[in-house]
């Protein structure tokens, strides 16, 4: 245990916990109560139905692939933006947040317009026999789009804050540039990279607005889990909807806790001196 030198522990922790309880915890208790309000067998039947399981695979699988793509390209982008100077850099830097600025529904409409068989990008691709819109590929593109800024924005401050002296020291000690990157820069940036990928993944799993337009919603093929929640609600099956919501939540929570644990371990391992 570290000694508490800085003030404000009670104030900040207390405020955080109260706010968190009001906005997040109480509603979730209500959700859980709703899912268990009635027969357990019904909820179990709903969340384990074949259709749902296919949709979990789709939602979590596509989100995972999308967030990994974002991890790779996000890292490159963040690196290029913090380290290099080239014409147009500022424009790119400013526009990275675009997916946040575009409402998800608009993103969905715009992406569908682009990738539909009669769209600018969709038409040439259709000639090559590649269907993007109303296909899993379309879902992937929408998810890459909405999750991209998370990785770049979490990495940028960290890459910028990395001091040059460690890199110089590594170079002086004879490390090649790649070795320096692998042994010095990457480990230092890893927690932020994981955070970014995690955020992007989390956002992608639950994404509804942009995906419904481009996915086509074919049962067993392109039906994402959030759509099935809506479908349950339309049938007045609140319990089933709450149950699916709970399953998604639980799965996400486990992955998140796992990632946070890795990150904590990582921080301790590499940043122990600064904490």
């Amino acid at each position: 245990m570290k000694r508490r030198i800085l003030p404000g522990f009670r104030l900040t922790l207390g405020y955080s916990v109260i706010y968190l309880t009001l906005i997040v915890l109480i509603p979730f208790v209500a959700l859980t109560a709703r899912a268990f309000n009635g027969t357990w067998a019904h909820v179990w039947g709903v969340v384990t139905s074949h259709r749902l399981i296919v949709s979990y695979q789709l939602s979590f699988g596509t989100a995972l692939v999308a967030s990994l793509i974002n991890g790779v390209f996000g890292f490159i982008t963040a690196w290029v933006l913090t380290r290099y100077r080239f014409p147009g850099r500022r424009v790119i830097d400013s526009l990275i947040d675009l997916p946040f600025a575009l409402p998800t529904a608009v993103a969905g409409i715009a992406l569908t317009a682009l990738y539909a068989p009669n769209g600018w990008v969709g038409a040439p691709l259709a000639k090559l026999g590649i269907a993007v819109a109303f296909n899993r590929l379309g879902i992937l593109i929408a998810l890459v789009f909405i999750g991209f800024p998370f990785v770049v924005r979490t990495l940028q401050p960290v890459l910028a804050a990395l001091t040059n002296d460690v890199e110089e020291a590594a170079a002086l000690l004879g490390a090649s540039r790649f070795q320096t990157f692998r042994r010095v820069i990457f480990p230092a940036a890893l927690p932020a990279l994981i955070t970014g990928i995690t955020l992007s993944f989390g956002r992608a799993v639950g994404e509804y607005g942009s995906v419904v337009f481009i996915s086509g919603n074919i049962p067993f093929k392109t039906e994402i889990t959030p759509l099935l929640i809506i479908a349950k609600l339309e049938q007045y099956d609140y319990q089933g909807a709450a149950g699916i919501g709970l399953v998604m939540l639980l799965a996400s929570f486990l992955i998140l806790a796992f990632v946070n644990a890795i990150q904590w371990w990582n921080t301790r391992r590499f940043n122990s001196s600064s904490l």
């Binding site: 819109a133 086509g216 049938q235 007045y236």
Partner: protein, 327 residues
């Protein structure tokens, strides 16, 4: 603290909005109809009582809208796609069980049916439901799980197949299955499906509400699309009702009743006809008869034994619709 204060301040500003106001919670394709009708009603009400009235509109999938009302959306009147959705409100005691008797004609002031919209010149030669089940035809229809209109589409196809195939249920199911196998997309709502067909250029035929198909024709031009009326289709009776509990609380019962009653007046019926709904009033219906195709219509009560039964057999989890995709 800050939050509570802010919320209260907002509440105060909202609570002040008073006067004669009515909220009509409706389904997707009625936007144009009620925009026009609300203006006409406001004029009529002003001339009759001298009172200004603002009718607010909310549109969305029929099931979603009914659910919102159940959850507290303060609708004075509902004008939905299916009686089933208003029954759901009656179940929660928002209005009496016999709500359908409150207004003439089963409380549905206008009717509609299900037709096909095809591309100009009908390149795939689509004439009737059985053409939709042929291989190589791309059919656009929304998802019956999330869209009221989609359920009418499904039932229209079923009614046709049942007559054609002598009520052999296995064959009927197979027929319906073939149609849905031809669907490359199942949009979540009727409007979404129309957009997919019309804007995105997907599919050879759109199964749609008659009014929706005519509206698309009007919006996008008859040089791009044409309407095909099948030999048999289903008589869709979109119902209307006053949500008693809410109207009582808002003290708008009389206004709400007058609002729905005026739908049956000559002007109301005329607006319905203009927006491609089939008017109930024989005189007005005759005026608009020429704009609709000839079709033999069956009712949901005759073929399916009412909405509750249809919902349970076809659209509930594990119902006939799910069985198509379970195979």
């Amino acid at each position: 603290m800050k939050k509570i204060a802010a919320v209260l301040a907002l509440l105060a500003s909202i609570g002040l909005a008073s006067g004669a106001e009515l909220l009509n919670v409706s389904y997707d394709p009625t936007r144009e109809l009620y925009t026009e009708y609300n203006a006409a009603f406001a004029k009529y009400w002003k001339s009759k009582t001298g009172q200004d009235v603002t009718v607010n509109q909310s549109h969305g999938g029929s099931g979603k809208q009914a659910r919102s009302v159940l959850d507290g959306l303060e609708a004075d009147v509902v004008t939905l796609a299916l009686a089933y959705d208003i029954d759901a409100l009656a179940e929660k005691k928002l209005l009496p069980d016999d709500w359908q008797k409150a207004f003439p004609e089963n409380s549905s002031p206008y009717t509609s049916t299900i037709v096909f919209l095809v591309r100009k010149g009908n390149p795939k030669g689509i004439k009737d439901w059985d053409d939709l089940a042929k291989p190589g035809i791309a059919v656009i229809t929304p998802n019956p799980k999330t869209s009221g209109g989609a359920r009418w589409n499904y039932l229209g196809a079923w009614a046709y197949a049942e007559q054609k195939l002598n009520k052999d249920e296995a064959k009927v199911k197979d027929f319906i299955g073939k149609i849905y196998k031809n669907a490359p997309v199942l949009d979540s709502g009727a409007r979404g499906a129309t957009t997919t067909f019309v804007q995105r250029g997907l599919g050879d035929v759109l199964i749609a509400w008659e009014n929706e198909a005519y509206l698309a024709l009007k919006e996008f031009g008859p040089e791009k699309f044409e309407i095909v009326t099948p030999s048999i289709s289903i008589l869709a009776e979109p119902p209307v009702a006053v949500v008693d509990v809410v109207a009582k609380r808002h003290k708008t019962e009389d206004l709400a009743k007058a609002y729905l009653n005026y739908l049956y007046s000559e002007e109301g019926q005329d607006i319905a006809g203009k927006n491609f709904y089939r008017p109930r009033d024989p005189k007005v219906a005759a005026k608009y008869a020429s704009q609709f195709g000839k079709v033999s219509l069956v009712t949901i009560d005759d073929v399916f034994g009412g909405w509750k039964k249809a919902q349970a057999t076809h659209f509930a989890d594990g119902g006939t619709f799910d069985q198509i995709y379970a195979k």
